[in-house]
Amino acid sequence: MDIIVCIKRVPQTAEAEVSIDSTGKSIQKDRLTFDMNESDTYALEEAVLLKEKFEGNITVLSLGYPDTDDTLRIALAKGADNAIRIKAENFENPDAFQTAQILKSVIKTINFDIILTGCIATDDAYSQIGVTLAELLEIPHAALVIKVDANEQRTHVHRELEEGLIEHLDIKLPALLTILTGINEPRYASLIAIRRAAKKEIQQLGKENIELEDLVINSVIEELYVPPVTKQVEILTGSPSETATKLAGIVKEKGLI
């Protein structure tokens, strides 16, 4: 089974202070650390599990700047066989649709049975790349996948919907799945695998190496800003039993219980 995993290198913003840069369209990145997008790590692990079951080949693919090689190399250490970086420096801030177009232009040159992507990138949070890519490739897809049970022709998947509903789908391969976090337990790369991966070539594709249709400009970022803080905090004072009573009153009054 040949699998493609689309991976993005994203800034780790969970605990960092984020500020807007001077263009007003992006965040200041020079002090942030970068790593593989969280749900992509699950997609990669799912690919490795599939490969362990069916054999085959895993290709990881990323549209990113040169330091993305570090992320792709970790993917190689965790079980991918080939890695391709499409040079982001050749494109001007592609939006979700354009990104899917660019990925498609490379993917159509590779054999695959399944494409796995993360369900969302923690930086741009478009949640569109996977599904758009499937549409452009004209293959079936399932988003928000939380369980994969595949054979060589078809795959059975569970999708997690709102309110904890689970949808079971049966999909014909080749197909694209966008993977939710929690579907598996991503492994750590072993030291030996790291040493081997460090030596592997990462294929670098520039604009000149790919056959690209005209990129459709659907959206442009106009502005990025931190919403103004509106004061909504109320600090309750008094003894623990007094504050507890007040709190219970407020919760009731707002209809929260």
């Binding site: 790593d35 570090d70 750590y188 790369a189 072993s190 790291i194 040493r195």
Partner: protein, 380 residues
């Protein structure tokens, strides 16, 4: 020296950091209190290949260099100092001397188990009456046909309660002074070998520290490590390597303390401002960061010397160990200070870091002994 890390070193650092943050840090406070040896963690370390970092692949190791070993120990210690020492002892105090001085049979017999975590390693040098003065040891090994009979006791042995393979030093000829010391490999279930008192420690509390007792302990002749009378040399040579890792451990603990202090200083408000805005707090943070960075460079440098095949790096290793240990006690003290009264409680990890740091100035040669090594090398 290369100040910039290579690709595999960077990857190793990032991956071990993630592993340590997710798998080791969460249980560090518990095992500090219970003193329980982290057996589950050891399995995970083995899976990642962290128990035989510099051992060649053919013996089950990961075949990385000594700079990488130091980086790994730093990252592990940053999450859990106990696990850091356990790993360091397994790597540089057990697998290393067997790799360097063992014969082919010994390497094939012991290294794979040490790398896979099937057996844990320990080293027995110190005795009740022989710490800094190694040659004052009293344990003896007497040849009796095809066995050596060991008698004596070793004290303060890290991993002691859990280890399966021990490198033990004993006199085979007292008259030759330190040239009469020989190294042996002793397996846990050897008749006549038992565990003595378990230590209740101030810091690194989950390291299985205990006494080893040898009463007519009969070990096969082929367990002699290196050559007869080579023990003191093996010991010093091994300590040169392991001191680098104690330095790395110190850097890890210090870095953890700084990270916590930075985070807390942004959150804690006094006199209407986060305390990170006060010059005196910034002053401490800047001092801590500089000390840690300098210590890390000394550690990398000593490890790099080893990798580069430089024969004599006792001075560099002693500098790394002495300096990193010294600043670690200072940095963790400052971290507690920045936390105010909260730093003195078990609600935050900095009091543990402070306790964990103190041992660094004591084991594998006290700071005084490091200074003797350094001064002698400088004045030589």
């Amino acid at each position: 020296m290369n100040f910039a890390l290579s690709n595999d070193q960077k990857m190793l650092r990032d991956e071990v950091r993630k592993f340590a943050e997710n798998e080791l840090a969460p249980i560090a406070p518990e095992i500090d209190i219970s003193g329980e040896f982290p057996k589950e963690s050891i399995k995970k370390l083995a899976e990642m290949g962290l128990l035989g970092i510099v051992v060649p692949e053919k013996y089950g190791g990961s075949e990385f260099d000594f700079v990488s070993l130091a980086i790994a120990i730093e990252e592990i210690s940053r999450a859990c100092a106990s696990t850091g020492v356990i790993t360091a002892v397994n790597n540089s105090l057990t697998t290393y001397p067997i790799l360097k001085f063992g014969n082919e049979e010994q390497k094939e017999k012991y290294l794979p188990d040490l790398c896979s975590g099937k057996k844990i390693g320990a080293i027995g040098i110190t005795e009740p009456n022989a710490g800094s003065d190694v040659a004052a040891m009293e344990t003896t090994a007497v040849l009796d046909e095809d066995h050596y009979i060991l008698n004596g006791a070793k004290r303060f042995i890290t991993n002691g309660t859990e280890a399966g393979i021990f490198v033990v030093f004993a006199y085979t000829n007292k008259e030759l002074k330190h040239k009469g010391i020989t190294a042996f490999i002793v397996e846990r279930d050897t008749p006549g070998f038992s565990l003595g008192k378990h230590e209740d420690l101030m810091g690194i509390r989950a390291t299985g520290n205990c006494e080893l007792v040898f009463e007519d302990c009969k070990i096969p002749k082929e367990n002699l490590l290196g050559e007869l009378g080579q023990g003191f040399f093996i010991c010093m040579n091994t300590l040169d390597v392991s001191r680098i890792d104690i330095g790395a451990q110190a850097v890890g603990i210090s870095q953890a303390a700084l990270d916590e202090a930075v985070k807390y200083s942004k959150e804690r408000v006094t006199f209407g401002k986060p305390i990170c805005k006060f010059g005196m707090i910034q002053n401490m943070l800047a001092e801590m960061a500089t000390q840690i960075h300098a210590a890390r460079m000394l550690v990398y440098y000593a490890a790099w010397c080893k990798d580069a095949g430089i024969k004599r790096f006792s001075k560099e290793a002693a500098m790394a160990k002495y300096y990193a240990a010294n600043i670690s006690v200072d940095v963790t003290r400052k971290a507690v200070q920045i936390f105010g009264g909260y730093g003195y409680t078990k609600d935050y990890p900095v009091e543990r870091f402070y306790r964990d740091a103190k041992i660094l100035e004591l084991y594998e040669g006290t700071s005084e002994i490091q200074k003797l090594v350094i001064a002698n090398e400088l004045v030589r």
